[in-house]
C-alpha cells in the first residue's frame, strides 16, 4: 500500500477506514455528523437524550430545558403528606452531561423554523437540527368553570399537578386544616396526566388524617363515572378508610351522582357541583389539560389540543422531522404517565437513529407499569404492554390491574416495589 494512503487511513482511525469500504460504517459517519435537538428535559426528554446516546455513540445531541433541577410529578403526593422531601424527587442533568456527553442548555425555546430546521432560543444562539424531539408535557385549561383561574391555582386552590411550589403550598394547606375539616379534590376529565394520581392523592390524604386530623374527611368531585384501577382502589378504601360506610373518610362523588363542578368561589373555598354546594378547608382543584403550550406555539397540535404522531416513530403527523413524545402525544390506549413517556422516548430515538442511518425503523414495543399508593404500605398497580397495529397503539388484552386477593402480601409488596421502582426509574431517565 502506498505510504501516504496508509497514513491517511491511520489518521482516520478504524471507523474511518471502514467507512471507505462498507455500508454500515458509512451510515455511522452520517450519525456522527447529525445533530438531534431535544426540547424539554422532563421524563420523556431526559430519557430520549440518554437512550439516543446509547443507540448512537457518535451523534451530536443537545437538550434544551429551562430548569436546572427537575422535580418529578411522580411521588409528589408523598411530599404533600410528608413521606418524602422535595429533594427526594429532584434530579439534575449532571449525569446526562458527564456520563453521556449530552450538551444541556438551560434556555427556553421561543421560535422554530421547520423549513430551515432551526430552533430559536430566548438567550442563546439558534440551533440547527437534523431531527427534533419535543417533549412538552401538559398545560392546564382555565376558564371553563367560573371562579377558577391560574391566579386562584397559584394562591388559594392549588392543583399541585406539576411538582414544585404548588406541591409545597398544598402541603402547607393540609397541615393548617382545622380539625374535622374537609379536603376537597376536584378530579379532571379525561384525558389527563397520571390517571390514577387524583385517587392516590385522596388515599394518602385520608391516611394522613388518621394520624393528624382524625375527624377530617376527603371528598372527591369527579366528572367521570370510572377511573383507572378503580376496583383495587375502592377495595383498598374499604379496607383502610371505611369506604361505603357512614364513617368513611373518603367520599367519591361520580359524574352520575353530580360530581361535575359548575362554579367556584376561591375566596370562601366553596365549590358548586351538580350534586350541591361544598364548603371546604382545602380545595385541590385539578383542571382539564392539553398539550404543553410549546406544542401549540410550534404548530404541533390537533383540534383537541394534543399532538398527533406516527405511532411507529412518534414523528409528528403535522411537521416532518419533529418527533413528539410523552403526555402531549396522541398515543391511543397508552395513559399519560411518566412510564409511558419513558417507553415512547426509547421507541422514538431508536427510530431516529435508524432513520438517520438509512435503516427502516423496526417494530415498536411499549409498556406502562404504574404503582399507586392507596396507603403508605398498600400499593395497587396496572401493567400493560402495547403494540402498534394499523398505526394505532393497542393495549394487549391479557395484562391489567392488581388482582383482589386475601393475601396481605400483594398490596404490601406493591408498596415496597413502588418505592424501589421510583429510584430505578429515575436512574433510567436521568443517570
Amino acid at each position: 500500500m502506498h505510504s501516504s494512503r496508509r497514513d491517511f487511513l491511520k489518521s482516520l482511525g478504524v471507523a474511518g477506514a471502514l467507512a471507505l469500504t462498507s455500508g454500515p460504517a458509512l451510515a455511522r459517519t452520517r450519525s456522527r455528523t447529525a445533530h438531534v435537538v431535544i426540547i424539554g428535559g422532563g421524563i420523556g426528554g431526559a430519557t430520549a437524550a440518554k437512550y439516543l446516546r446509547l443507540a448512537a455513540p457518535q451523534m451530536r445531541i443537545t437538550l434544551v430545558e429551562p430548569v436546572r433541577r427537575f422535580i418529578t410529578c411522580l411521588r409528589s403526593t408523598d411530599v404533600v403528606v410528608g413521606h418524602m422531601d422535595l429533594d427526594d424527587i429532584t434530579f439534575t442533568y449532571d449525569a446526562l452531561r458527564a456520563k453521556y456527553g449530552i450538551r444541556v442548555i438551560h434556555d427556553r425555546a421561543v421560535g422554530f423554523d421547520p423549513q430551515k430546521k432551526t430552533v430559536q432560543l430566548l438567550e442563546g444562539f439558534p440551533l440547527a437540527y437534523d431531527k427534533l424531539v419535543v417533549s412538552p408535557g401538559i398545560d392546564f385549561i382555565y376558564g371553563d368553570v367560573d371562579g377558577y383561574d391560574q391566579e386562584a391555582a397559584a394562591t388559594t386552590l392549588p392543583h399541585a399537578w406539576k411538582a414544585g411550589p404548588q406541591t409545597l403550598l398544598l402541603q402547607k394547606q393540609l397541615r393548617a386544616m382545622p380539625q374535622g375539616g374537609t379536603f376537597l379534590l376536584v378530579a379532571p376529565p379525561n384525558p389527563f396526566r397520571c390517571p390514577p394520581g387524583p385517587y392516590e392523592r385522596a388515599s394518602l390524604v385520608a391516611e394522613w388524617m388518621i394520624r393528624h386530623n382524625p375527624t377530617g374527611k376527603v371528598v372527591i368531585l369527579d366528572p367521570k363515572d370510572q377511573f383507572t384501577k378503580d376496583v383495587p382502589f375502592k377495595k383498598a378504601w374499604e379496607r383502610l378508610y371505611g369506604y361505603n360506610t357512614p364513617q368513611s373518610r373518603i367520599d367519591w362523588i361520580s359524574a352520575s351522582n353530580g360530581g361535575k363542578v359548575l362554579k367556584v368561589d376561591a375566596a370562601s373555598r366553596t365549590v358548586t357541583a351538580q350534586a350541591g354546594t361544598f364548603r371546604a378547608d382545602v380545595v385541590n382543584y385539578i383542571p382539564p389539560q392539553r398539550a404543553g403550550t410549546l406544542a401549540f406555539r410550534m404548530g404541533l397540535t390537533n383540534r383537541e389540543g394534543w399532538c398527533p404522531v406516527d405511532r411507529h416513530t412518534f414523528e409528528s403527523s403535522i411537521v416532518k422531522d419533529v418527533h413528539v413524545i410523552g403526555d402531549a402525544a396522541v398515543a391511543d390506549s397508552m395513559p399519560k404517565s411518566g412510564y409511558s413517556a419513558n417507553s415512547q422516548a426509547k421507541v422514538a430515538v431508536q427510530a431516529i437513529a435508524d432513520l438517520i442511518e438509512g435503516r427502516t425503523p423496526g417494530e415498536p414495543s411499549m409498556i406502562n407499569v404504574c404503582y399507586s399508593l392507596a396507603g403508605e404500605h398498600y400499593g395497587v398497580s396496572i401493567a400493560d404492554i402495547f403494540k402498534v397495529v394499523d398505526n394505532r397503539i393497542v393495549k394487549l388484552p391479557a395484562s391489567g390491574v392488581s388482582p383482589i386477593t386475601e393475601s396481605p402480601a400483594q398490596p404490601l409488596l406493591e408498596a415496597v416495589y413502588q418505592r424501589n421502582w421510583h429510584r430505578t426509574f429515575a436512574n433510567d431517565c436521568f443517570a
Partner: protein
C-alpha cells in the same frame, strides 16, 4: 463508550425453530416482532438501564442465563410461578419475544 450487545440473527432463527418444534406451539414466524433490545428497553424502566439494577427488590437481568429467563417468563405467563406484577407483564409477550429479550439480556456483560 458503552458496550453494545449484538444480536445474532442466524443463531436466533435456529433457536426459534427448535423452540417452536419443542413446544409444539403455533408460532407464526412471519409476524414481525420487536428486537430483543427494543423489548429489553421496556424492562429497563424497572430493572435498570441495560438490565442493571441495584436495589433491594428488582433483580438485575444483565448477563442472566437465557434459558432461565425464558423459563421464568413462561412460568409467569402461565401462572405456574407467583409474583406481584410479572404474571401480568409476561402475558403481553409471545414465545418469540421472550426468547429475543432473553437473548438480549444474556449477552450483556
Amino acid at each position: 463508550m458503552l458496550p453494545s450487545p449484538h444480536q445474532h440473527p442466524v443463531r436466533l432463527t435456529a433457536l426459534l425453530a427448535t423452540l417452536a418444534m419443542a413446544s409444539g406451539a403455533a408460532i407464526s414466524s412471519d409476524i414481525p416482532i420487536a428486537t430483543g433490545k427494543m423489548i429489553g428497553d421496556t424492562c429497563a424502566s424497572c430493572h435498570g438501564t441495560r438490565g442493571r439494577s441495584f436495589d433491594e427488590y428488582m433483580p438485575s437481568l444483565a448477563g442472566i442465563n437465557r434459558d432461565q429467563l425464558v423459563q421464568a417468563m413462561q412460568d409467569y405467563r402461565e401462572d405456574r410461578r407467583a409474583s406481584v406484577v410479572m404474571n401480568r407483564i409476561a402475558k403481553g409477550y409471545n414465545d418469540r419475544e421472550i426468547l429475543a429479550v432473553a437473548e438480549y439480556f444474556s449477552r450483556i456483560r
